[in-house]
Symmetry: C2
Subunit: 253 residues, 2 copies
């Protein structure tokens, strides 16, 4: 399975078709336009339905097409630039934060999050759920895991749940001195609850951004944010969060 | 097509199967182990082949499974943490850079890159090709586009092509004062040449990292780096490039 073997594999047929289709999208179709149905398209390009479907999947991965239930396949607008944090780093919920708190409940975090937080395997933490909307569209859903030890002053007295509870947890968290954060981005597939929040079906490709917040010499909170991979490009800028758009790219700062 | 309608859509069958399969992977299979063939798996879980295939695709998206030609489907090791740049920012080719220059040739950049560089539509630039290897595996391929105006001192005299030429271009570029950079991450599918470098088939899902380097008040170079989405998680750290691994996560700095 070396590189040599792959070099002798001819380009798959759907790959060539993808290139041809991509050029047709540029020259013949406008953003939002609905493509002809698969049978007509396959006939036009003289390929099998299966080949066409593979090429359409590629174009969907690349953000050129959107498939929507009950509508069909449409030409996608350019992806939105969505700013992910700043170099300096602030707590979730700081001024200018693009996220809206939706809910807060006690929950046992997934095993890998528990390891980062150094909580016991069955230990409950505060799980804050937030959503992010850009240009009127849901673009991301977040689970923020905050161990009870990070917000020790918190009482269960007022705002026991819901968005109000989420705001109280964020406010308490912000009392800690933030020492730093790091971030990882990887490909994932939308869990059922995230898919609902993002108006997608479960399993849709998403970009998963995991952020660890450090305070008091340990991981004080972990955020797992799920961005729609079809409509978003995540931007990381020196300028500390200016949104950069793909097609009107000029230096912002 | 609001959220409400999606809420009434029942969870697809492959989604439930994916969860069941994922638990079976945890409890019954070791990393690198080859899964039984699709027919046997479909029979064991009492599902149609098509449903099984969808569930396997999900697990591949999530990095749990790898499908390799001529081998079959194997249980994937945890994704590698691959550090993407530092907060401070350095020129490509600086000391400690993880990339190896492979080639350099004149080329007309893609339209979106030309827009960022503010070069004319048919203007040739230096196109440096580099590769990145981690733990003995190819993890990323990069095209670095450098306008001739950014390396004006460069002559065509020595090292007209190849890795030596690439190093000369990088050395000249590093003479400019780097004023800043920004970065975007998005989902893409591997182009044929990248796929070869990454030992994948064309169209495999990749994470595309586009970096703009600013010098002299303009974009002096643009890097388009393609990371394997199946094996990599991209890390962005305060610590300026310490690699963080998914399963042995402790604070590094």
């Amino acid at each position: 399975m070396g590189t040599t073997q792959l070099e002798t594999v001819p380009e798959p047929k759907y790959w060539h078709l993808k290139t041809v289709l991509s050029e047709a999208l540029d020259s013949e179709f406008a953003v939002g336009e609905i493509l002809p149905n698969e049978r007509d398209l396959a006939a036009r390009f003289g390929v099998a339905r299966a080949t066409l479907r593979q090429a359409l999947e590629q174009l969907e991965l690349e953000g050129r097409l959107q498939r929507r239930r009950g509508v069909g396949t449409t030409v996608a607008p350019p992806r939105m630039g969505v700013a992910v944090g700043s170099a300096q780093g602030t707590w979730p919920g700081a001024v200018g934060d693009a996220w809206q708190p939706a809910d807060c409940a006690p929950a046992v975090p997934p095993a890998d999050v528990a390891r980062m937080l150094e909580t016991a395997a069955d230990e409950q933490v505060h799980m804050v759920r937030r959503t992010r909307v850009s240009n009127g569209q849901p673009v991301a859903a977040e689970l923020l895991f905050v161990p009870t030890s990070s917000v020790a002053e918190l009482t269960g007295m007022d705002a026991p749940s819901g968005a109000a509870r989420a705001r109280v947890v964020l406010r308490e968290l912000a009392r800690l001195g933030l020492e730093g954060q790091d971030r990882a981005v990887e490909l994932g597939s939308a869990r059922a609850d995230d898919a609902r929040a993002l108006d997608r079906l479960p399993g849709a490709p998403v970009l998963v951004v995991t952020t660890r917040f450090f305070a008091g010499g340990r991981t004080a909170a972990v955020s797992v944010a799920t961005y729609r991979a079809d409509t978003c490009r995540l931007t990381f800028g020196d300028s500390g969060g200016v949104e950069i758009h793909h097609d009107s790219d000029r230096r912002a700062s």
